[in-house]
């Protein structure tokens, strides 16, 4: 298989996804199969080909720096699981 157990754990940690032991093994198998299939791309010589990040002809779309209506604080907080004094409350980052 292309992926080791450690690589799966590393990727899961980058993505902040908790995984069970069983899931680590299952995803290791499935992701390895998909990546093996994707190796078909190596057949193509793309050294001289520019990458396509966006298919649109647009670049640097700007507008005037003029304030306009936006979400009010109450609306922005309405779905929050934990609110304190008008803030989204999270667990401590620093000890």
């Amino acid at each position: 298989m292309i992926l080791t157990r450690e690589q799966v754990e590393h990727v899961a940690e980058l993505a902040k996804l908790g995984l069970t032991e069983e899931e680590i093994e299952t995803y290791r198998r499935q992701l390895s199969a998909i990546l093996e299939y994707a190796a078909i791309l190596e057949r193509l010589d793309t050294d001289a080909i520019p990458p396509t990040a966006t298919v649109l002809p647009l670049r640097n779309v700007m507008r005037e720096d003029e304030p306009g209506p936006s979400l009010q604080q109450a609306e922005a907080l309405a779905n929050a699981p934990s609110v304190r004094e008008g803030h989204f409350q999270v667990k401590a980052i620093l000890q």
Binding site: I49, V55, L58, A80, P81
Partner: protein, 488 residues
């Protein structure tokens, strides 16, 4: 004709002639939903009281002489399109209780046009899937055979249309998610050119690939819906500042000398024989209508799927990083620290396919692998785009099957992710190239609908709709309705 069997344009005609009211039309659709939705399971959320209220308002407006392109027309929205005050779940537990504080731009445009909103339809979680089996809540069933999938990820919208539980619907298409379910359910679905329709209020999956698309019972309805939802939006910096024509004016029954290309890569091994047969007959109809048919090649077609399954998950891994239980949605209780809170929230909030794609994408973007996977895929994307641009030098549109098979059984492909991904082999290339494409019914195989896909160049929606309309008017497929066989 039963009211729930009407098309949008048929209903508008009767409404304008005061032969029916918006109130009775909406009530008829709501009655139909009650009659069959326990079998099709197309809807996640229904808003009957609000719909009746909107219908009453539409009747009053019409009586007062107010016009509106969709005044009094009941519509359904895929549940990854934000609508104020209603849950927008994206088919996920992580957003099960999320109520958007704003409307998507397409919703605002439909509202201004006078539409009536019936509710939100089921989808594969975060639009990731080809069967609607990845919805965290339940699987929608294909009205043509309730043991089979409606396709995905806009399976709820497609099934609702097919079962006459709505007159029109919106879906979203990232790798075929409007066109493939339209094909499997025997309805019409269009993926507009990248940037033609605003994505503001569409929950993002893969930003360089996502487009909201209209879905309808016939081509005219799709054209009508597209005319209303398309257009520049200052809130979506990736929306094109190009005028929106009245797409219904492009519809004509003949195809005088239009050049139709048939890519050889879209036929052959992997395509069900019954599907290929229906397509060959459809191409003959186009020829009989006056089109010039020619064979062509899109040589990098076989690379589209691996490119997509690197780029789309990569973009998704970035777009779904926001689901951390802080600002909205499910939040894991009792975690010892902030990192564990994130891990548990995302572990329990996301389903398997979403996690699979987030990990695939994270890996493809990670240090040491970015060049080999993500950058490589972006370069091959250029080649795929160039294939289309070259083909469009010689042909006005390209045709082929929308999907390699008809609707498969529920559970049949769910165990093997790669098998499921292959359902999108013909629809993925158009998202990668940013061009427009439409699927419409072109026959049956084993009693199940087959879809004809018509692909057009950037901003070529008028061409695509025109070819589709001419084909449709020369055939009877669009007037066939499934008989919903209840499971007992």
């Amino acid at each position: 004709m039963k009211l729930h069997e009407l098309t949008i344009h048929g209903a508008l005609d009767l409404l304008q002639r005061r032969e029916i009211s918006a109130t009775e039309l909406t009530q008829a659709i709501l009655d139909r939903i009650v009659a069959v939705d326990n079998d099709t399971k197309a809807y996640l959320t229904l808003t009957p009281e609000a719909a009746c209220e909107e219908a009453r308002t539409a009747d009053e407006l019409r009586a007062a002489g107010t016009a509106g392109a969709l005044l009094g027309i009941p519509l359904a929205l895929k549940d990854n399109i934000c609508q104020i005050g209603l849950p927008t779940t994206c088919g996920s537990r992580i957003l099960e209780s999320f109520v958007p504080p704003y409307d998507a731009t397409v919703v605002t445009r439909l509202h201004v046009a006078g539409a009536v909103f019936l509710g939100k339809t089921n989808l594969d979680e975060f639009a990731m899937g080809s069967s609607t089996e990845n919805s965290a809540f339940f699987t929608t069933r294909n009205p043509w055979d309730l043991t089979r999938v409606p396709g995905g990820s806009s399976g709820g919208s497609a099934a609702a249309l097919s079962a006459n539980e709505t007159l029109g619907a919106l879906g979203s298409d990232t790798g075929g998610s409007v066109r493939q379910p339209a094909s499997l359910c025997g309805v019409v679905g269009l993926k507009p050119t990248c940037g033609r329709v605003s994505r503001y209020g569409l929950v993002a999956f893969a930003s360089s690939l996502d487009q909201i698309g209209p879905m309808g019972k016939d081509v005219t309805d799709c054209a009508l819906l597209l005319s209303v939802i398309a257009g520049h939006d200052p809130r979506d910096s990736t929306s094109l500042d190009t005028p929106v024509p009245d797409y219904t004016r492009a519809l004509r029954p003949e195809l005088e000398a239009l050049r139709v290309g048939v890519p050889r890569e879209y036929f052959g091994a992997g395509t069900q024989p019954g599907v290929e047969m229906a397509l060959r007959k459809a191409i003959q109809v186009l020829a009989d209508l006056g089109a010039e048919i020619g064979e062509t090649s899109l040589p990098h077609t076989e690379y589209a799927l691996p490119v997509y399954y690197l780029l789309a998950p990569a973009e998704a891994s970035a777009n779904l990083a926001r689901y951390d239980g802080v600002k909205y949605g499910y939040s894991a209780p009792d975690a010892p620290d902030v990192w564990e809170a994130y891990r548990r929230t995302r572990q329990h909030g996301f389903g398997a396919e979403v996690k699979r794609r987030i990990m695939l994408g994270t890996y493809a973007l990670s240090a040491g692998y970015y060049d080999a996977y993500y950058l490589k895929a972006q370069k091959v994307r250029t080649l795929i785009k160039q294939d289309f641009y070259q083909a469009f030098q010689e042909f006005d549109v390209l045709v082929g099957p929308t999907a390699p098979t008809v609707a498969f059984k529920i559970g049949e492909k769910a165990q093997d992710p790669l098998q499921m991904y292959l359902s999108d082999v013909f629809t993925i290339p158009q998202n990668l190239a940013g061009i427009c494409a439409l699927s419409l019914p072109c026959g049956f195989a084993d009693g199940l609908p087959v879809g004809l896909q018509i692909s057009g160049p950037v901003l070529g929606e008028e061409l695509v709709l025109r070819v589709a309309y001419a084909y449709e008017q020369a055939t009877e497929w669009h007037s066939q309705n499934p008989i919903i066989k209840k499971e007992h």
